[in-house]
């Protein structure tokens, strides 16, 4: 379990990292390394050069930018977990982060690293998809934005252009008095990879109807999916339990779920319906200022 030899470059800024990436086909960027290093130890990854972006101070921050919370790519997951600003502005992210690995991996693991890695079961891509996050990408001296919905292409495959590096993630912040969130996942042990995960965020009106709703499901398909048809069906309703269950079941009826030795496709689909339903009901109760139901 020892990595194959490679060259090591510690860079001072992102453009230096991009330049190195462009000159060396076998080069890879290392951030927290909590996925890349074990892959290298098992020789499933054999980069010829590691470009270490951990010391780029300008890539680690959590700050409000207009109507979004911007998080720098190398911001540690543990920092997000402890951030009062995240709790206040992105309660859904705050709910999900403690589910990422365990404390020792969150201390090193980064926000950008998990998103660029694009594991279908990872929590951060699910939250990014659910909240319509935007990914800020730097490459060839230029900066561009990619919407979360366009970024994930397949399991561990993204639309990140060659030679480019993810610089920041912008999560839109919902403002209002009746915002509620719900998050659930099922795995063999806490801190393990999710078999199924579900996230929901709702904004309710004073009359008890739903003004806005976003629902995402992770670990079930090649990359996290939004339940668009359920969102359309549920907007404007009171999010009654039965209506939620029916809308979610319909949205997940025709999907081709992933299958592995831990969980069959049928299991994943069935649990996805349950967890998405629970996440929405939790979000509704949360928005109304009530404690979560016992499901």
């Amino acid at each position: 379990m020892k990595a194959a030899p490679f060259e090591y470059s510690r860079v001072a800024d992102i453009d230096e990292a991009c330049a190195l990436l462009a000159t060396d086909d076998g080069a890879r960027v290392i951030a927290g390394g909590q996925t890349l290093v074990p892959m290298m130890a098992m020789r499933l990854a054999r980069p010829t050069r590691l470009i270490d972006i951990n010391r780029i101070a300008a890539l680690s921050y959590i700050r409000l930018e207009d109507d979004a919370l911007a998080i720098g790519a190398t911001t540690r997951q543990s920092l997000v977990e402890r951030s009062a600003l995240v709790k206040e502005t992105l309660p859904l992210l705050a709910h999900a982060v403690p589910h990422i690995g365990h404390a020792a991996t969150r201390a090193r693991g980064t926000v950008g690293g998990s998103i660029a890695n694009a594991d279908p079961a990872a929590e951060l891509p699910l939250i990014a998809i659910t909240l319509d996050a935007t990914f800020n990408v730097r490459g060839g001296g230029k900066t561009s934005d990619i919407a979360a919905r366009d970024f994930f292409v397949g399991p561990m495959v993204t639309a990140l252009p060659e030679g480019a590096i993810l610089a920041a993630v912008r999560f839109p912040v919902w403002r209002g008095d009746r915002i509620g969130v719900g998050f659930h996942e099922v795995n063999a042990r806490r801190s393990d990879f999710a078999f199924v995960s579900a996230a929901a965020q709702v904004a309710m009106k004073a009359d008890g109807t739903c003004e806005r709703i976003a629902i995402g499901v992770g670990a079930v398909t090649d990359f996290p999916m939004r339940l668009d048809s359920a969102e359309q069906a549920l907007q404007g309703t009171a999010l009654d339990d039965d209506a939620v269950r029916a809308a979610v079941s319909q949205a997940l009826a025709g999907i081709e779920a992933l299958e592995d030795l831990h969980a069959s496709a049928t299991y994943r689909q069935r649990v996805a319906i349950k967890l998405a339903t629970r996440a929405i009901i939790d979000a509704r109760e949360h928005a109304h200022g009530r404690p979560p139901h016992a499901h």
């Binding site: 379990m1 510690r10 909590q34 290093v37 130890a41 404390a103 020792a104 991996t105 090193r108």
Partner: protein, 164 residues
């Protein structure tokens, strides 16, 4: 490549390959064998060290990446030769170990937890050690050890007349 590592309060220079993990560097270059090589791919937690005060896996980091950041290993937690830290003491008293393979990592995780949260609930302790595998104890005595150490570090075992 030559790198400088800040280990247990002393800066040491080592000659190592980029591919050498912090774990292998500690064990092979610096002869600090307290960080244990278990799974070497981030699952078991036996290689835990404190990196800038936080518990991390030394097998999931290359030594070159650790340059300039203070690192504490199990060899650095006792107050003096032949002495034990209050947390190590508590592990002895509650029999928080059997074979000892996971123990240095468990002690370091407890150090990180109690530095951050002097009054942990049982669930906090369980959560803190959830990334560390123990194949002997069934974890119960480890949890007891950390709870006892927390109580002592808070000063709860001072003589009654000195308690506030």
């Amino acid at each position: 490549m030559r790198i400088k590592l800040d280990i247990n309060g002393t800066v040491q220079e080592v000659d190592t390959e980029p591919r050498t993990t912090l774990l292998d560097c500690l064990r092979d270059n610096l002869n600090l064998k307290g960080a244990h090589a278990g799974c070497e791919h981030g699952v078991c937690g036996a290689c835990t060290v404190l990196f800038d005060g936080e518990a991390v896996r030394s097998c999931l980091m290359f030594a070159a990446q650790a340059e300039g950041t203070p690192i504490v290993t199990i060899e650095g937690v006792s107050p003096g030769p032949g002495e034990l830290s209050p947390i190590q003491d508590a592990f002895c008293e509650t029999h928080g170990m059997q074979c000892g393979y996971c123990t240095p990592a468990m002690v370091l995780v407890a150090h990180a937890l109690l530095a951050d949260n002097p009054n942990p609930k049982r669930e906090d302790i369980v959560d803190a050690i959830s990334g560390n595998l123990c194949r002997c104890t069934g974890y119960a005595q480890i949890i007891d050890a950390i709870a006892l150490a927390a109580e002592r570090l808070r000063g709860d075992n001072r003589p009654a007349e000195l308690r506030s």
